[in-house]
Symmetry: D2
Subunit: 133 residues, 4 copies
């Protein structure tokens, strides 16, 4: 079962078309990845950088917009590892309406582990990698 | 007791200074006002416009920045009516750290009721006004 | 030659990692598409909806993050039609450093024409389509 | 004469009310302050931190919302020093329509100079202060 967090749509998320602005789903997906990592590793983003000496950065994003979300909507944002090895993790995510569950937006993200000191791509530390499966 | 909602600080909220970007507290304050109205009126923003024929818009914002919030911080955002009469509501809000409770940011907001059809300021409907005290 | 607009990186665009937050490139790409349409059609977004009875919405986004942008950087954001037919337009975009020109981020976007009244996908009006090639 | 920069309103700036979301004027005002400092000091934000060892942070914001801006609008955002002494600068700003010039939003901001190393308020370096008048 995929990890999920609830998201409420506020004025800040919408645009003059009356729907959620397309870039904002990437904000929602990032929140879900952060909470998923917090649950999987027991670490926040700052602790991760401090203790594991690095962080995950998005190197590729593929997003499909199926149907719009609107003001006041409650969404469920999922995050599930598709593959994790070497220096990268592939994560599948979706945004669906809590009421009814129809999928509004789907994303596939390639995350690269970056050494915090050198700001260079590096292999994911083994103790992190083990907890991602 | 003031109405409060919890907010987690994510990457999207921070800036290159390592702290929450100053405009984003206005996003947090708006979320708290929306949830406070949902609790007080039992209406979301779209229902409010549909059923009461109007909405509240911010006509003045006064914000004091005391101390910065950082990535992963958990904040409590409050909303409390200071005064409500005629066409305006004055709302006091604060953002404080859940851990320790120190106040990071305080805001005082003047909200004006706007007729949804005419997009003109108007008196707050009596049945709304009664629920705001 | 691709259409390009300059973008300056401000505090609002960066995150606590000291770089531009990944979702914000979608904001930059949207600005460039809007200015490209203004140049190609001689219409702003509101005029387009009013005169052509519809608007373009993003149905798919593919973004590759090559290298980070930082505070104060000047970027050039491009937009070029790859294909336009029926109800969809494929647009290639990139964000590169004005100084040196190295490409930081690339995007491929599928835009769908949506009838403003029905909010339904529809064929791109012929007089619009002709101006996109 | 006040320093001014032009701003175009894009989809990202608007909300489901069809107008610019109130927090976004603080983004526009920050852009204008950054460009004003670049013009006055000949320094970007990163150079300022590197060469002067500090930065300006907003400690208080007072914003009055007069009339809404809409998608495609062109605004002029001004920045003018009202007072600068010791550790603080008071800056008056406005957002007005380029067409017609009516003022949509006004802001008064208190900026505090912060020592970059200690992240503590400090006196504004004399060579900076002289250039702000």
């Amino acid at each position: 079962m995929a990890f999920e967090i609830p998201i409420r749509i506020y004025w800040e998320d919408t645009d003059a078309g009356g729907i959620v602005f397309y870039a904002n789903y990437l904000r929602f997906f990032e929140r879900a990845r952060t909470e998923w990592l917090r649950a999987a590793l027991g670490l926040g983003q700052r602790e991760l950088a401090a203790k594991a000496g690095g962080m995950f950065v998005v190197s590729e994003a593929n997003v499909k917009y199926r149907s719009p979300a609107r003001l006041d909507d409650e969404l469920l944002i999922s995050a599930a590892v598709q593959d994790a090895a070497g220096a990268t993790v592939m994560i599948e995510q979706s945004a669906r309406l809590r009421a009814g569950g129809s999928v509004l937006c789907e994303g596939l993200f390639r995350l690269a582990w970056v050494d915090a000191a050198k700001m260079r791509p590096a292999r994911i530390p083994q103790h992190i990698l083990e907890k991602l499966h």
